[in-house]
């Protein structure tokens, strides 16, 4: 039986949301944010999840080992604004059982 992982997401207004992210729906972090409507439609996942915009940029606040960054994500982040060393594109991070307790913060809108 697949279970959900508990994730803490701080939205762009600084509000903390503790949400249950399903691991059995092939969702990524960007989609989880949209699922729970933690950012207004049209301000996140603009390219649909192709690492071709940086609207789903987030800061990873915990030490979870996440999917390694691929070239396209790295290239996109190098052109994004407000980038920090812990920046990732939410659309490139699939929800897995190992992500239990993950904490992220959404980067400001461009």
């Amino acid at each position: 039986m697949d279970q959900d992982v508990q994730i803490k997401i701080t939205d762009r207004d600084g509000n903390l949301h503790e949400i249950a992210a399903p691991v059995d729906m092939a969702l990524n972090l960007m989609e989880v944010v949209r699922l729970y409507e933690l950012a207004p439609e049209g301000t996140i996942g603009i390219c649909g999840g192709m690492a071709m915009c940086a609207s789903c940029q987030c800061y990873v606040l915990t030490e979870h080992s996440l999917r390694e960054m691929q070239d396209d994500e790295e290239a996109m982040l190098s052109e994004a604004f407000n980038v920090k060393p812990n920046s990732r594109l939410g659309c490139q991070i699939q929800i897995t059982p190992e992500m239990e307790g993950l904490e992220i913060e959404l980067a400001p809108e461009d």
């Binding site: 439609e41 049209g42 192709m50 071709m52 290239a75 996109m76 190098s78 052109e79 604004f81």
Partner: protein, 351 residues
């Protein structure tokens, strides 16, 4: 003043298919798009990416889909106002609308169909103080006329195709070209990357990586920028122009000021009937609209466009009856005089 039957705002897949469906009903269309080419996101963001959920196409590249849609609607001779953003809309005494672009081009039509996707694509601007102070006064986010830079000093920043391509192009025009990027790696066509390397080696492009423009300076107009390499103090570079090329991002923009009901960054429409907005005569179709159960899919945009055209027909031809005709049966009569029709069956006896 450009006059048409249906004025379509947005030349993406939904807007292009509207031309075809409107054409079947003998209505002419004109499209406005902020981008310099048709196709919307399909041509701007992901032309080389495959789409798998277009009916009858197990796989098609977004760029090819645009080509096919343009080909399909060609005989209905759509007009285009490209590279201009629809700015204002005014209702006329006769019930029609006048839409004016940011460049002042005026369009008049009895029906307006907003097929604007996520909005018009606007350049992403770096977050620097006083940026606005120098806009059109040394700072530009798009290159419209490269001659402006002849024998001038130019600084370009960015790491994608447009930063590479313009650096290459301007190296022949400007007196000095500096390309600044946050990483050593560039994301672009391989030959562009190689060419920039070559021009850098030849001393024709001053390449600064990994670095970032951290300040824009000057009195009344741009005079210099400050570039910072990580861990090093900022360096001042004298320049006439600074061109940040960080791609485009869609914004609903002026449309949100048109008095339309907006929800979730999209235009609310009546999906029980015809995708009309709260303003009669203005419709919203494709990704730009919202209603209960809305899905932002190209194929849904096609369906919405088709139903919208039926409602537009009633507005444009009041009181006229209409019966659905199948293209297979009736063929297609283009506005260009062309006719497509199914070949007639041959009736011949076999002895």
């Amino acid at each position: 003043m450009i006059q048409t039957d249906i004025l379509i705002i947005g030349a993406g897949p939904t807007g292009l298919f509207t031309v075809f469906e409107a054409g079947l009903l003998k209505m002419k269309c004109h499209l406005i798009d902020a981008l310099p080419q048709a196709g919307g996101q399909c041509s701007e963001i992901y032309p080389k990416k495959p789409i798998y959920d277009i009916p009858a196409y197990p796989e098609i590249l977004a760029g090819d889909l645009t080509e096919k849609l343009l080909e399909q609607c060609k005989q209905f001779e759509p007009g285009f106002t490209l590279g201009e953003r629809a700015e204002t809309i005014e209702k006329q005494a006769d019930g029609s609308f006048v839409v004016t672009t940011n460049k002042g081009t005026q369009h008049q039509a009895p029906v307006v169909a907003i097929a604007g996707g996520l909005g018009s694509f606007e350049p992403r601007k770096p977050q620097l103080d006083n940026l606005a102070l120098y806009e059109d006064n040394g700072i530009a986010y798009m290159i419209k006329d490269p001659e402006v830079y002849r024998n001038k000093k130019v600084v370009i920043s960015g790491g994608g195709d447009s930063a590479l391509d313009w650096s290459i192009f301007l190296s022949e025009v400007a007196s000095e070209v500096t390309l600044i990027h946050r990483r050593n790696e560039f994301r672009g066509a391989l030959d562009s990357v190689d060419k920039v390397q070559e021009l850098k080696n030849a001393g024709k492009i001053n390449l600064i990586t990994p670095a970032e423009v951290t300040a824009v300076l000057g009195k009344n107009k741009l005079e210099a920028i400050e570039v910072t390499k990580s861990g090093a103090p900022p360096v001042r570079i004298e320049t006439d122009s600074f061109i940040p090329l960080f791609g485009l991002s869609p914004k609903l923009g002026p449309i949100s000021e048109w008095g339309l009901e907006i929800e979730k960054n999209a235009i609310k429409v009546n999906n029980a009937l015809d995708y009309q907005t709260n303003i009669p005569g203005i419709f919203a179709i494709g990704d730009v609209n919202t209603y209960p159960g809305k899905l932002k899919l190209i194929l849904c945009g096609f369906h919405e466009a088709t139903l919208m055209c039926q409602a537009a027909y009633k507005i444009i031809n009041p009181g006229k009856r209409y019966v659905l005709k199948y293209t297979t049966v009736s063929g297609i009569d283009g506005f260009d005089g062309s006719r497509k029709e199914a070949p007639k069956a041959v009736v011949k006896s076999i002895n």
